[in-house]
Subunit: 541 residues, 2 copies
Amino acid sequence: MGESSLRIALAQLNVWVGDIEGNARQMMEAAATARDRDHADIVAFPEMALLGYPPDDLLLRRGLPDAIESALALLTEQLTGITAVVGYPEYAGEDIYNAAAVISDGERVAHYRKQCLPNYGVFDERRHYRSGDAPCVFELGKRRIGVTICEDIWEQGPAAQAKAAGAEVLINLNASPFHVEKQGEREGLLAQRAKANDLAICYVNCVGGQDELVFDGRSCAVDRSGQLTLRAPAFESGVFCVDTQAQSGTQGTPSIVAEESDEALIYDALVRATRDYVDRNGFPGALIGASGGIDSALAMAIAADALGGDRVWAVSMPSRYTADISNVDAADQAERMGVHYDELPIEDGFSALLNTLAPLFGDREPDTAEENLQSRIRGALLMSLSNKFGHVVLATGNKSEMAVGYATLYGDMCGGFAPLKDVYKTWVYRLAKFRNTRGDVIPERVITRPPSAELRDDQADTDTLPEYDVLDPIIEAYVEDGESIEGICARGFAEDDVRQVAGLIRRNEYKRRQAAPGPKVTRRAFGRDRRYPITAVYGDL
Amino acid sequence: MGESSLRIALAQLNVWVGDIEGNARQMMEAAATARDRDHADIVAFPEMALLGYPPDDLLLRRGLPDAIESALALLTEQLTGITAVVGYPEYAGEDIYNAAAVISDGERVAHYRKQCLPNYGVFDERRHYRSGDAPCVFELGKRRIGVTICEDIWEQGPAAQAKAAGAEVLINLNASPFHVEKQGEREGLLAQRAKANDLAICYVNCVGGQDELVFDGRSCAVDRSGQLTLRAPAFESGVFCVDTQAQSGTQGTPSIVAEESDEALIYDALVRATRDYVDRNGFPGALIGASGGIDSALAMAIAADALGGDRVWAVSMPSRYTADISNVDAADQAERMGVHYDELPIEDGFSALLNTLAPLFGDREPDTAEENLQSRIRGALLMSLSNKFGHVVLATGNKSEMAVGYATLYGDMCGGFAPLKDVYKTWVYRLAKFRNTRGDVIPERVITRPPSAELRDDQADTDTLPEYDVLDPIIEAYVEDGESIEGICARGFAEDDVRQVAGLIRRNEYKRRQAAPGPKVTRRAFGRDRRYPITAVYGDL
């Protein structure tokens, strides 16, 4: 290391919640790469990398403090020839801190406790952690390096405090989940903090799917003037380096991966999230009910891209109401993607159960009861295959359906994971078209035919719902912005539509409460990101 | 009001989340009772009574601040002839406080912001609220009355601060959910705070079921010496008064409802929770799959006690594996309780779906796939009746099953509400026996026969699980205490049993994530009270 030059490696890892030993192993491998391949002076790991994020109440297990301490001791002993900044949960008596240890030459030379604890949206950090109050600045050669953690950089205090304590470069450890347009916010903020404090900033983030969240990586760095000097790729793990000089805070050629389109980012987010859910939970593959519609077509593409076609099993379950082209198109796509494909007609089961119910149904008109029964038979068949062969069922519902309840609880909502849960219907089309730009896998007719649940004759989604290009922005205003009925109408939507949609969203909270988890990709996803009571009256608010 | 005497009415109301107008109406009626019937000087309402508790992200709706302000203005105008202490959410710019307004003669004369915000267990208050930092003491006649809110009394600061600001009596507003042994903790704490600060304390709590929580009321008061002077009944709304003298902090005859047994309290909690869920969500009644087993028998009793037998519909769905006595016992109980009863044999549907699956199942041995299919057909039949007739399905699974996954997702887990979700199997028996002491409704044989899922020949729960009197304490140690494997073994359980049970609990997180809500009655319930990742590795911790 030259007197004024410093090479910092950002270890953009895909750690796994709870797998302390495995995470420590990944960290040692990344440190070796940073040291031996990249000749880095420092390797920085993501927030909470030793335990994974978010650990939630796993933090409260009695056995955890000892396991963390052992792993940290091992890392301290074995991480040699490089200085490492390690995110971990620090247990101090009754208190837990979201902490970072700086390890160098077999010793913990510095130590930081996160000061700003997010407790909104998907975050619950004040449930477990106490806030730190002190800066952390350590010396390496002649350089002084500050450390902060994630939310700390979103407020003004901690960076200024590190600067005041002498930091020339700030390393910020993150576990920052993806949503669309996030990277622009991050890089804008980093530039602002860097300029305001005359401080180069290195931002290291994790990657990978973790239940309702998917981390996108895109670790990055800015120099003292706020100029971007590094942007690592999205959704891929790796070790990425940045050089900082005492003068400018940067040197050499910036290494900046181009930003992809929103379609590409969301698609890749769904693939990453699905792969990690399926693999980490130990499933041999994934089952999909393939209806010939756009949702299951997109889900099949995502699953095949995530797992390989040979680990995906698409099952078409036609009824008396299913158009022939539905089966043809589903089979066509399965063949194009190397996906296993079977057909299980539901007519016999449907007739048998209708007969069973006949004495109680009497001469009542057919309604959603008969429609949902078809969907529930399909769910039961998929779950039977899952129980027999071990594949996880992927639910194919999208965010528009989740919002207004246009899905059958215990029917098409069956599944361990729901890749499209936070994807509006209008975006399902955009992503399907996007996927075909990487290779033509979804038959054109699936994209162009009008959407229908095919649970009765001549059914179309628009029989009961506004067109999706009206529905989706109303949902977005109500769910993502928390906008009132009045406020949404003021955005130019018809009051009848707004009241219908808002009413459906309210009344279907009970369905969402029992929905499979799926990855957040918008500003406000259903699930841990948006917590509403089921039993509640709040009409116009 | 005499110079030194003060009568405080505690309005133990069953408010409804989001129903601001309805809650305000209830408050005005209670205030009129307190004033006209009881000649009280002050009426105190529960924490957040104007909006209901917990409102969760409903607090973030854009239309809410105006609605709250209007309702508070109306209360201020109309609550005359008595001083009222009103819990509500206070919007102050970007901040929200969990607040209390003191209203007297058409004016808001004092104001308090909750200082201690619980953010553990079922509570998420730091997600929404900022902390206050000032005491609130108002004068009435010659007396000085302090106000605090819920968690404030569980810490030492706020009561001492109110005393220092001159309070002689402290009114503490609560939305304190029930769990077993809670009242002892509350009254012990109040006695301690009262003595430590030489301060009489009035504790007003709400009642009623709200999704996963049930509030038990049991509002109470202690005098300056810590002596209990009032205990209101559990799970019933009403207005209850306490007199305090300047000297002793109390006068007149103490009015103390006797504490009931834990069995009675839990049973009444489940009845209250079930009634409020069904009624407030607008269901005409409840459907129960009646298997002849102890769980569905207890659930039927709870539902009938909550709603009246004529609003409960029990459906037996026998298969080739169902013992005749199962149907007989279920029908017997239904008749005793005036519950509608029907039988829908599942054999035809089961055969039809097995035939449909046969080409894919091939010659594989029967396993849980065939067992779960029976359960899922039952779920689909109940949901079909629910869709056709509007009754909500009650899931009958207990906490022991929820813990180890001894329940079929989309099968017997179907339902909008799960009354027994937080009741251990050993407690299911205790509660069934207890219920029969109030009238013999559950056939003796249901209580005495060995438990079986009846999904294959000669099946017994103990084929795959330890006896329930071993299983339940292991679950309790692991789930409620967060105890490690080692720690549970040290309590005297066999390591094999402990590892089996802990492994099952870990692996079934995905099922619980899709389970219906049910009322918390233990120290640590599944659901919002215990938040674990699905995708996680944490073997021995």
